[in-house]
Symmetry: C2
Subunit: 326 residues, 2 copies
Amino acid sequence: MVISPQFIIGVDLGGTKILTALADMDGRLVAEVKVSTEAREGRQHVLGRITGSVEQVLEKAGVKPEQVQALALGAPGPLDTRQGIIHFAPNLGWHDLPVKQVLEQRLAIPVLLDNDANLAALGEHRYGAGRNEDNMVYITVSTGIGGGLILGGRLYHGSADVAGEIGHMTVCPDGPLCSCGNRGCLEALASGTAIAREARELAACGRGAGILAESGGDPAGITAVTVAAAAAAGDAGAKSIIARAARYLGIGIANIINILNPSLVVLGGGVMDMGELIWQNLRPEVQARTLEAAGKSARLAPAELGSRAGVMGAVALALQAGGVKN
Amino acid sequence: MVISPQFIIGVDLGGTKILTALADMDGRLVAEVKVSTEAREGRQHVLGRITGSVEQVLEKAGVKPEQVQALALGAPGPLDTRQGIIHFAPNLGWHDLPVKQVLEQRLAIPVLLDNDANLAALGEHRYGAGRNEDNMVYITVSTGIGGGLILGGRLYHGSADVAGEIGHMTVCPDGPLCSCGNRGCLEALASGTAIAREARELAACGRGAGILAESGGDPAGITAVTVAAAAAAGDAGAKSIIARAARYLGIGIANIINILNPSLVVLGGGVMDMGELIWQNLRPEVQARTLEAAGKSARLAPAELGSRAGVMGAVALALQAGGVKN
């Protein structure tokens, strides 16, 4: 008896957790599993966590592997979507891992690979804030700043699968050092990491009492979350740090709008959860720095799928793959 | 007797000149005509200059209007490619001109309209430095800085036909005022206009003797061309101004490479004619500020078609239109 494939699987591989979703051929979720990545246990262990979570999600739904048409994996780092190789994933400690080949051997399901930010963009485009938009830019503002581009209705990868590195746009040539080695990247000025760094510098100058109070009294305990808490409690220093980050974010978004003339920019990631303090400083900067026609045609919107954008994008990619069979 | 169309026409409408080319269906040039725009005589006059140049080029080649399949016009400003309306062309003094309709009525040839920088990009992609590149960014550095994007092998227009405004990317948030009203745009830091402004400021401080010597002794006579001449004659101030502009250009190019991951960036326009003084300052900045994978996959190359990029792009567009007939 031949069982025709009726399901697809999406996996979002992050530095701390792995989200796995089973969906039917209309993209409706059937079951979900979330496990910790346990990256420090090494690559074999993490690969085992992925295959284990796939087995779990199948078992949960009572679905057989033969009924799964394709699995799409979203992973960090520069990677090769065609060959299915992760070139470099610093937070996993991986170099040149042929993850497609490994998972196909272990699971006997065709595997597709794409960048996590790209898949989050695809998720928001298909199921979230960007439905039916032809040209949409997705930006995630979190520990770092990443992005994905939907151009002409399709995910745009660039020539070496590394398009969308919005966080490494220079917006202040002599600005603070970025993790990439460059100075004045958007990520070094507007990410959660940048917000925490600014707050620690403030505390080091003997100021920032409100931030320290939210951070257990220890400058080392300062994070973007504690800065946000201090701002919410009315601390002027914290508010000013977040406002400045938001203005830089506005500059980066305006640049993207002038270059790509999208109809929509979707903003997600933990820093955006700070809400109005970000938006009220970001919007005027975007408006001031966009050319009239491009500015008028670009809407800004918060992401709708939260931490599930990536796995929903993986579902969308696996569905797109359509007839893919080994 | 039915005469089947065997030719197409490309027109590049600039603020000072109109270039018109007749080509066969393989894109081979048959005849060319160049006339001055005479923009100050008003829009009816300029429209007459366009139709006159079309008649001239046809006469020159002994071709009848019925033998022309399509005419593509490259024009400045925000415009609507589908409706064929030029929304705003400051250097022609035009507002909301339905140029497609007007020219089709007068010439009885189907007319296509696109942005001049887009068509220069298309020209370089089809006939110049960017042949066979899937993802190519064209940047023209002249009085202003403009650009055109070839993504996935096709001209990318964005959602309101205004994509590619690379010159209005902010690269220095509190930098000099730009003609667009914003501060620190790439155009305000690296265009020919910016180079001349910096040199005039130097002269106003009583320095820049070498630049003044090349400019007839009058600060008002300083242009990017006289600054380039002073630099070529060894003037340190002139060299430093051009080097600084080139470094900002490198920052803008690095941003584009990180965002779009093109395989090629083509640089044209009068400022690029300054040659090695630009390139030697631009290259290290691009290298320092691009992420490894994106930087490695992006070649930089000078434009090949010079002032004929736009008209060749118009030829390419008219040929693409293929079966377009009224």
